[in-house]
């Protein structure tokens, strides 16, 4: 059975070109980039090239890139940097639909003497910007709003928010883990102060990420140790993975047009095909304003985990915002913040595509999914047709 991988917002396949560039870092140029001899310089050079490629993808300078171990570390680094470099300020603003890397951190900080404000979103998942601006105070140390939502793909107007906050002198961070590589980003042209990204969401390996910190932004390191990353993040560099992330960044820049044309068309074909054949199904999020690869659909009267496990029997991989898949008893906080009724939230399925998906895969899913939904509905006491 072939695997049809429609869960690219969870993680992605490492690109073969990425693996190829990584391998020599393990067995040939394995020196510590900090060492003094020419042999180690080879590793340092590979690192420098990777940093340049990541910067290029973002429209940034290499000095503005701090490499981390993952998106979560980047997010924590950003928030703590803002709080520690403004110790008198105790207020954070974020949104109600953030990834747990930001959400749980802000909830944690709220128990540790800080104040966290969570900006609500509307039915389409767009933030209430008036609410955001109304809640800014002299005490606000940082505003952190995600660029693209991991569950729905909805895009926040982060460049506009950053611009408005710049005028008020407030630091702005965006968790762009889902956005980088999927939509064009040019930080030279924006007022964003800090931006998090993660390697494994763009066909690099897991365990490597980066934080962009605009030149001139006050910073304080999260991991304290050696002089690496210009004293901004201690710890010997994960050279192979960083090199992989660099290559992946270069590939992403080359594929961004493909993401926004071919991948978008595949996503739309999948979505239209399913919505047409399956009654009582709907799109969660803003169909016009979202990532080109993401489709979050709700199939009413049935439960997401059951759908996923039936799909798994056919080799199709996807995610759900239902309670049973989250390990808790509550469905996705993102869908609930959007006011998606429980009936739909429990039956939500997220499909997230990549450049490696094909039309055959999409057509297979469109053919196989409706009978699954029908079968589960026939078992459901709420299905009346």
């Amino acid at each position: 059975m072939n695997t049809i991988y429609f869960d690219n917002n969870a993680t992605t396949r490492v690109a073969p070109e990425v693996v190829e560039e990584m391998l020599p870092c393990f067995t040939e140029d394995y020196g510590n980039p900090s060492s003094m001899y020419r042999f180690a310089k080879k590793a340092a050079d590979r690192l420098a090239l990777a940093r340049q490629r990541i910067a290029d993808l973002l429209g940034a300078s290499p000095e503005e890139i701090i490499v981390t171990s993952c998106g979560t570390e980047s997010d924590s680094t950003a928030i703590y940097a803002a709080l520690r470099s403004n110790p008198s300020k105790k207020h954070i603003i974020t949104s109600r639909v953030e990834h747990s890397a930001i959400k749980n951190l802000c909830e944690y900080l709220a128990r540790k003497g800080y104040r966290s404000t969570f900006v609500p979103v509307d039915k389409k998942g767009m933030p209430d910007l008036d609410y955001l601006y109304d809640h800014l105070t002299d005490d606000t140390a940082i505003v952190s709003m995600m660029w693209a939502n991991n569950e729905t793909g909805v895009l926040f107007p982060v460049e506009e928010i950053a611009k408005n906050l710049k005028e008020k002198g407030i630091v702005f961070h965006t968790d762009a883990v889902q956005a980088v590589g999927k939509i064009p980003i040019d930080l030279k042209e924006s007022s964003i102060d800090m931006l998090s990204l993660s390697g494994h969401k763009l066909h690099a390996p897991k365990g490597v990420g980066a934080l962009y910190v605009r030149k001139g932004t006050k910073f304080s390191p999260f991991l304290i140790g050696g002089h690496q990353e210009a004293n901004r993040r201690g710890g010997t560099e994960n050279v192979a993975s960083i090199v992989g992330m660099g290559k992946a960044a270069e590939l992403a820049a080359a594929h961004i047009a493909d993401e926004n044309s071919r991948v978008r068309q595949l996503r739309d074909r999948l979505e239209k095909g399913l919505l047409k054949q399956i009654p009582d199904s709907l799109i969660n999020g803003d169909p016009e304003n979202r990532l080109p690869n993401t489709s979050n659909l709700s199939f009413e009267y049935i439960e997401g985990e059951s759908i996923l496990l039936m799909m798994d029997e056919l080799g199709i991989c996807a995610s759900s915002g239902s309670a049973c898949t989250s390990g808790s008893l509550e469905p996705s906080h993102v869908l609930r913040a959007m006011g998606v009724p429980y009936t739909a939230a429990h039956g939500s399925v997220r499909f997230s595509l990549s450049i490696y998906n094909t039309q055959e895969e999409v057509d297979y899913a469109v053919e196989k999914l409706p009978p699954i939904i029908q079968r589960l509905r026939e078992m459901s006491p709420f299905w009346k047709q």
């Binding site: 128990r111 104040r115 009267y301 439960e303 059951s306 049973c324 008893l329 009936t343 459901s380 006491p381």
Partner: protein, 274 residues
């Protein structure tokens, strides 16, 4: 991914007895769409009260569907007297086990069976007894006490896994812990997670502690203390009387007031004078 047994998987992929028995003698419905799972159980009995036909409809995850399917298989051919003795543990055993977070799926089966039998006998379905403890899932103290008596449940998480109580907003965790202490006796190990206090609770506890533990000692020396504000974990106080001019006031504040508040209210509190 959940670790489901082959039997769970098999009953999920090929559930037995799906549907509704026509002209059913007993009907039991539990759960709701908003809760995330629901089960409708219907059966028919012969003149000896032996179950001749039984069917289910389930909205829920794989283990909910498998538990319902297992229940119907267990019920087939049993007399109502025998059926009444079936518990959720029998469903779990039949399936070769369930992940602990999914135990409530088997409990749902037992509940639906209870309701269906009550329906057949014409026993009035009693209004839920007791006080609602978990508002998110509508679970009462009576249900929690029953679960605690019937199963080896020791911490709040166990209760959540079995009957869902405490699985939503988490507001009721403290009350569930009280019920656990009450039923199991105090010596049961408590959950390590410190309790989260609401601001109001915190302020009340701070005031009580000031009155009970702190003010009497200060008053003995001709001083007093007043609570000005509580901001997160920062407790702002004003020292009065002799304390306000005392050189040792800062020491009193940190070594006595803060220590007491941390002991009786929350370990993260920071006391400052304003």
């Amino acid at each position: 991914m959940w670790e489901y047994t082959d039997k769970v998987r098999e009953h999920f992929l090929n559930p037995r007895n799906v549907g509704v028995v026509e002209n059913a003698d007993g009907v039991g419905e539990v759960g709701s769409l908003s809760c995330g799972d629901a089960l409708k159980l219907t059966f028919k009995v012969d003149e000896n009260e032996r179950i001749t036909d039984v069917k289910f409809q389930t909205f829920g995850c794989a283990s909910a569907i498998a538990s319902s399917s297992a229940l119907t298989e267990l019920l087939k051919g049993k007399t109502l007297e025998e059926a009444e003795k079936i518990t959720n543990d029998d469903i779990v055993t039949y399936l070769g086990g369930l992940p602990k977070e999914k135990m409530h799926c088997s409990v749902m089966g037992q509940e639906a069976l209870g309701k269906a039998i009550a329906c057949y006998r014409g026993t009035p379905i009693e209004e839920k007894e007791g006080e609602i403890v978990c508002e998110c899932f509508g679970v009462t103290d009576v249900e929690i006490r029953n679960a605690l008596t019937a199963h080896p449940l020791n911490v709040v998480e166990d209760i959540t896994n079995y009957i869902k109580a405490g699985g939503g907003c988490g507001k009721c965790h403290e009350r569930i812990q009280e019920l656990i202490d009450e039923v199991k006796g105090k010596d049961v190990p408590k959950e390590e997670k410190p309790q989260k206090l609401t601001t109001i609770q915190k302020i009340r506890m701070i005031e009580e502690t000031l009155q009970r533990e702190i003010q009497p000692s200060l008053k003995k020396d001709g001083g007093d203390i007043e609570l000005v504000d509580v901001n997160g974990n920062q407790v702002q106080v004003r020292l009065r009387g002799a304390c306000s001019t005392c050189k040792a006031a800062q020491i009193t504040l940190k070594d006595f007031v803060e220590k007491k508040l941390r002991e009786f209210v929350a370990a993260e509190l920071i006391v400052e004078e304003v």
